[in-house]
């Protein structure tokens, strides 16, 4: 687990390629956005109620309702 985290963080810190604005046609597409789809928000919420773990995904992480 520790090694996976170190490798993943290293990959993120090192920029593999300098991408100019006009080269971002692929990553600017709706399906490539680094966030959950809006239609998925409700699903993410009920999963945080039914499981002990939550957070790390921009969704509910505890409090704000009569839930865990």
């Amino acid at each position: 687990m520790k090694w996976i985290l170190i490798i993943l963080c290293t990959l993120l810190i090192c920029s593999c390629e300098k991408v100019k604005p006009f080269q971002k046609a692929y990553i600017n597409q709706e399906s490539m956005k680094l966030s959950d789809f809006k239609a998925k928000a409700f699903e993410t919420n009920f999963l945080s109620y039914r499981e002990g773990g939550s957070g790390g995904n921009g969704g509910k992480a505890g409090g704000g309702c009569g839930c865990n």
């Binding site: 687990m1 985290l5 993943l8 963080c9 990959l11 993120l12 920029s15 593999c16 390629e17 300098k18 991408v19 100019k20 604005p21 080269q23 971002k24 692929y26 990553i27 597409q29 709706e30 399906s31 490539m32 956005k33 680094l34 789809f37 809006k38 239609a39 998925k40 928000a41 409700f42 699903e43 009920f46 999963l47 109620y49 039914r50 499981e51 002990g52 773990g53 939550s54 957070g55 790390g56 995904n57 921009g58 992480a61 505890g62 409090g63 704000g64 309702c65 009569g66 865990n68």
Partner: protein, 385 residues
Amino acid sequence: MQLRFTFFILLISCNLIFSQEKEPEYKRDKIKTDFFINYYNQDGDHSPVTGGKGTEEQTIIAPTLLLNIPTSKNTILDMNIGIDNISSASTDNIDGSVSSASKDDNRFHSNAWFTYKLKNSNQTIGVMTGLSLEYDVDSIHIGGKWTINSNDDNKSFDVTAKYFHDQWDLYYPIELRPFADTLLKDDVRRSSYLSFTYSQVLTKKLQASVSTDFIFQSGLLSTPFHRVYFDDGNVDIERLPDSRFKIASGFRFHYFINSTVSSRLFYRFYWDDFGIIANTIELEVPIKIGSLWTVIPSFRFNQQSESDYFGAFQTHAPGSEFHTSDYDLAKTNSSLLGIHIRFTPIWNNFLKFFNSDSFDLRTSYYDRDDGLTGFTISAGTSISF
């Protein structure tokens, strides 16, 4: 001659003054709205209201409205308003009263983020406020965030902080109400949340992010109407420590495979001091069909360990300080299969009347290995005007 010269100078001066370009007036960007209607149904046989045994049947119908309103060149107001209608067979067992208020609950929730992009800077700041109202819990929340982007917009770092103040009405199981004065002291749950998110464009086709949340909760962390049956047959309310510290770290890798298929991979590691460690992995594969349709199948798997305070029905020893029979805190594996269909009317043909940017339909089936199953369906549209 002198008069003509003076007149000529005046004419040139007036021309220079009135021909200076004024800064163009700000033209407001479009207001975007998203409206979703959500439906959830679940059933299982381990209701915490009846001590880890009994129906968990529940239905939720939840319409939600999202608004994105550019208020000026540098400011945006994001609002979220929803009402959850919750029908729950198990909460009716709190007091055995059929058709009580608890059986059919409505939760109203709303929050608003106001963000400001600093002038001549790559930084954005924001403030948030919100509330949630249901029959037994009223909650208010506040928050703030700060985001900085690199000059080439390839890297972004965000810090978000929130505080939730939940005021509970202490509804106990009916047989324990005569002892209400001795059961719980605190009726407030306080949750503080601090999140750090770093995202980066790695190549023309790959971008990734890592998000780490630190959550600290204190006060009333159990649910007052959850029962626990001891191994001698006696009953108590659920009791949990008055503090809980959680860490959740999520990683996203989104890769554009080709003009038809992309992949969205998510992994989360979770730890808390209740003894729960969880690993979650999810894969979504958006598939473009023509220029109008996108189909997104998804699969999610979650594995979690048991809380130190969990015990099944009639397994807790009497006199234990903390105990729960809530299977949300038990050792479980769960999987979720979903499909999401998106229609984007580029030509705005017959949908021009509605001015819709997109239609979404998402459905998923959830299966937990203790027997709980759930089904969701969300349908919505996005409109700009």
